[in-house]
């Protein structure tokens, strides 16, 4: 039975996304009821997607970090944590699709050594996936905008056509001045009736 008050609790992320060729910082920290000991250790291991076994890639002990110098991350791994502040983060450089997998961090703070290791999944993408809702919003916006445009054009056309008709009818009415008390234009002709 593992009661929380007697165990060390390790925190990493749940899942990390990254672009091919970029760097990523995998964070690992722990909670322990005891003071941070000088013999604190951090240990990272990596299990590729689909593989059954994990391989050790990083170990911090006796105050010194030891990075992978033979495995899949040789020359690509750097220790960027601060053990004094309970931070055992590592930096992976120049990611590739082969780096997809699960990274497990195990920390020990003697004499507090009983605890569960915590895992973070790394997903490497070719390009950043589209945020949720961007495409949805643009489709809806585009269709409604088109609708609005059609309505505006329709009323504009109606207005212009009506104005043109009005202009034509005004011009075809001849001016009947100075011909008597109530001169009227003869419809259809260009002369006036007296």
């Amino acid at each position: 039975l593992l009661t929380q008050s007697e165990a060390i609790v390790i925190y990493t992320g749940w899942e990390r996304h990254a672009l091919v060729g970029s760097d990523i910082r995998l964070s690992c920290s722990f909670f322990s009821w005891r003071w941070t000991s000088d013999d604190v250790t951090f240990s990272w291991s990596y299990r590729p997607d689909g593989a059954r076994d994990a391989i050790s890639i990083f170990h911090y002990t006796g105050g010194a970090p030891y990075v992978d110098n033979k495995g899949p991350f040789r020359d690509r791994l750097e220790f960027v944590g601060n053990p004094g502040r309970r931070d055992g983060s590592i930096l992976l450089k120049n990611l590739d699709y082969g780096d997809n997998g699960t990274f497990t961090c195990d920390a020990k703070n003697p004499p507090d050594i009983v605890g569960r290791a915590s895992s973070v999944r790394l997903l490497v993408f070719e390009k950043v996936p589209i945020q949720a809702g961007v495409i949805t919003g643009s489709i809806i916006g585009a269709v409604l905008g088109l609708l609005l445009l059609i309505v505006v054009i329709y009323y504009l056309m109606r207005f212009l056509v009506a104005r043109r008709v009005f202009n034509l009818s005004v011009r075809s009415v001849p001016l009947c001045l100075g011909l008597g008390p109530k001169p009227e234009p003869i419809p259809g002709l260009d002369t006036c009736m007296v």
Partner: protein, 165 residues
């Protein structure tokens, strides 16, 4: 007596058409909002969330944000909006249309709404990942397919309907 008979018939037809339109609107709305396009065991996903029922409770995360899901979301929302617009137009045209005129705008919007639902349902059917066990289509998906022919028929009725008084 004859005139009153005709008047009553017209009123009944009008009421029936209106009730059909409202039913379609409700079906589209429920289909868009309810998160049950794919269900299976303890899981129900799409269109908006991906939820898992465990002993401890109900855990939801965002549905996948791939392009096709977002397109289906957009099409369903647009179909609800266009159905709403056609209802508004119907109310408008009821009072402003000349005698003998057809409900053209109402029909156009209703038919567009039905096309949007059809496109959304088709895209979802085709693009749904089918590697999962016991994943069946949920009631929201069925409602979408049910509302498509209803919406189309309603639009055609509006084309045929003439305003009399």
């Amino acid at each position: 007596m004859n005139n009153i008979d005709i008047y009553q018939k017209m009123l009944l037809i009008l009421l029936a058409v209106l009730i059909l339109h409202l039913i379609i609107l409700v079906l589209l709305f429920v289909s868009t909002i309810a998160n049950a396009w794919t269900v299976g065991g303890t899981k129900n996903t799409d269109l908006w969330y991906s939820c898992l029922t465990t002993n401890a409770g109900y855990h939801c995360s965002s549905a996948s944000n791939e392009d096709w899901i977002q397109a289906v979301q957009a099409l369903m929302v647009l179909s609800v909006l266009f159905c709403l617009f056609s209802l508004v137009f119907f109310m408008c045209q009821l009072f402003t249309l000349v005698k003998g005129g057809r409900f053209f705008f109402t029909a156009v919007f209703q038919i567009l709404a039905s096309l949007f639902v059809m496109c959304g349902a088709i895209i979802y059917t085709v693009m749904r990942p089918d590697g999962e066990e016991d994943a069946a289509f949920g009631f929201a998906y069925i409602l979408a397919w049910v509302s498509f022919p209803l919406c189309l028929v309603s639009g055609l009725i509006y084309i045929v309907l003439r305003k009399r008084e």
